[in-house]
């Protein structure tokens, strides 16, 4: 139970200090540490990363969503194909999905050329992959639950009853 609450606080802001989480949840700091340790050990928490608005960065980066269709055979399952693809650094995320295609893969690279080369040289040649459709990201509006707009001003009166 307390693990869930600690996780909720971290999902809101992974930079909350242990002491602050302890205050928020009315727990001892040591208990918060223990909860985080156990969430990490159990592999529930796999890492901590900032949510970056890439449009505000100077360096160009290109993201693409790639749909993949595959044909399985007796020796090869989804897991095998996935583990092969996921090892590439360019692959940000990889999901097996329902519907008209099998895998949904997000790729990030320095240029469109790099992405298309990756798809044509590394992904398409995999024998089980029968089709790839690459969608380049044109703009982003929300990232991991965070809206990327300019934010809304607090237009409340500074003091009210």
């Amino acid at each position: 139970m307390s693990h869930d609450e600690v996780l909720t606080a971290l999902c809101e802001n992974a930079r909350y200090s242990t002491e602050d989480i302890a205050r928020q949840l009315d727990m001892e700091p040591a208990a918060v540490e223990a909860a985080i340790d156990s969430l990490e050990e159990d592999g529930v928490i796999r890492g901590y990363q900032p949510i970056v608005d890439r449009r505000k960065r100077d360096e160009e980066s290109v993201r693409a969503a790639v749909e993949l269709n595959v044909t399985l055979d007796r020796e090869t399952g989804y897991e095998d194909i996935a583990s092969r693809l996921a090892k590439f650094d360019l692959v940000d995320s990889l999901h097996l999905v329902s519907g008209e295609f099998d895998f949904f893969m997000e790729v990030e690279a320095g240029s469109m050329r790099e992405v298309s080369q990756f798809v044509s040289d590394k992904v398409a040649p995999v024998p089980e992959i029968t089709q790839t459709v690459t969608h380049y990201v044109m703009d982003s509006y929300k990232e991991q639950g965070i809206l990327l707009g300019d934010g809304h001003d607090d237009d409340r009166l500074s003091v009210s009853p």
């Binding site: 802001n13 205050r23 003091v159 009853p161």
Partner: protein, 386 residues
């Protein structure tokens, strides 16, 4: 033009002066806000937009849309075990504030005495006076954790009153009352034949126990006007939507005033509210858990600073004892030196002096910054009067 005498004798809100001080500064972090920092749930806002697109801009029934009243009846039954007939016993109003005003105008005769549990929201006392009534302030106490007790009622002479106004969870203290504590107040009300106006606008924001409405206690339904609304739980203060739950005769009397002065509550807001009740329970639960974490943070920080603060368990307020005896001077100096605005308890009536209303309807980052500033201020500023 000379205003009417009964208007003239009601002073402007004590909060106003503090608001003007805060407005003079650029870098204010406000812990002085009496409304949520969230926006209304998007699904509810979208329903309002859709209703405008469909041209639903006419009046509704005086009492409010029937489907909304039915949804309210179901909701209060489910949450608070309050059983009211949507056709006869529910009246939808322009904010809980209109409902408060209607209760006074419909039930207070000139010369009647209305006991008001204090410190309290700023509109009860003026509302009673506008209706021609006399106010009997009932100050609650830090040692009772600002709950209302038969002792403070008796001490204040509330037994002589015709009506009693209470608000739990409370603005400005953040106090809540348990069923057992309310039972004693209910006994007092029955014994002295008081009509009770129970402002339960913060009912959803009760962190330590489920909210109990005084109207659910034996013999109380027929003498109680319950006021609630959408402003706090659904973060839609500006849409102005509240409601009254009361026996048929009482809502009829209040509707008599409402139908001439308001005609009907804002139509768009009624569409938003209906959707809020239909589909936004999860969003509310999320807001409540966020407030609860902020509450814990605030209470822990005050404890660490050595500032006395009773464990507020409702609304989004903490009510610490100011380290200086003069709470108004403390609040002004705090604002002046640190840019943290919080309203001194004095602005909320008797029993508020010596305290500060700290609203945690402010994002976690701002809240932490404000608490850091308060801590530094308290460390470096002793009470000038001590």
């Amino acid at each position: 033009m000379k205003p009417a005498e009964r208007i003239d004798r009601v002073p402007p809100s004590g909060i106003r002066r503090f608001f003007e001080l805060a407005e003079q500064r650029e870098d204010v972090i406000s812990l002085g806000v009496g409304e949520p920092d969230f926006a209304a749930p998007w699904a509810a806002r979208e329903a309002g937009i859709a209703s405008l697109e469909q041209g639903k801009t006419s009046y509704t029934a005086n009492r409010g849309r029937q489907d909304l009243r039915a949804a309210i009846a179901e909701d209060v039954d489910h949450r608070y075990d309050l059983d009211y007939d949507p056709d006869e016993e529910i009246l939808v109003t322009a904010g809980a504030s209109e409902a408060v005003d209607l209760a006074f105008r419909a039930f207070v005769d000139p010369g009647d005495t209305v006991a008001v549990a204090q410190p309290c929201y700023v509109s009860y006392v003026p509302g009673v006076r506008f209706a021609g009534g006399e106010v009997c302030p009932v100050p609650t106490r830090r040692e009772d954790e600002f709950t209302l007790t038969p002792e403070v009622l008796a001490d204040a002479g509330a037994n002589e009153a015709e009506m009693l106004v209470l608000c739990y969870p409370n603005n400005p203290t953040g106090a809540t009352m348990s069923r057992d504590e309310l039972a004693e107040v209910a006994d007092f009300a029955r014994q002295h034949d008081l009509t009770v106006v129970s402002d339960e606008i913060y009912a959803e924001l009760s962190y330590e126990h489920d909210h109990t409405s005084i109207a659910t206690l034996p013999g109380m339904r027929e003498r109680t006007i319950v006021i609630n609304g959408f402003s706090k739980a659904y973060a839609m203060t500006g849409l102005r939507l509240g409601y009254v739950l009361a026996p048929a005769g009482a809502t009829r009397a209040m509707n008599r005033v409402h139908q001439y002065t308001m005609l009907s509550a804002p139509t768009t807001a009624q569409h938003v509210a209906l959707e809020a009740l239909d589909s936004c329970e999860d969003v509310v639960a999320e807001m409540v858990s966020q407030y609860d974490r902020r509450r814990n943070l605030v209470l822990s920080r005050f404890e660490e600073m050595g500032i006395d603060c009773f464990p507020a368990s409702g609304a989004f307020y903490a009510f610490p004892t100011t380290p200086w005896e003069d709470s108004e001077a403390f609040a002004e100096a705090l604002l002046e030196e640190t840019g943290v605005a919080a309203v001194p308890g004095d602005a909320f009536g008797e029993g508020g002096h010596g305290h500060l209303r700290v609203s945690y309807a402010t994002g976690m980052d701002g809240l932490k910054e404000a608490l850091d500033r308060i801590e530094r201020f308290v460390e470096t500023h002793d009470d000038p009067d001590a």
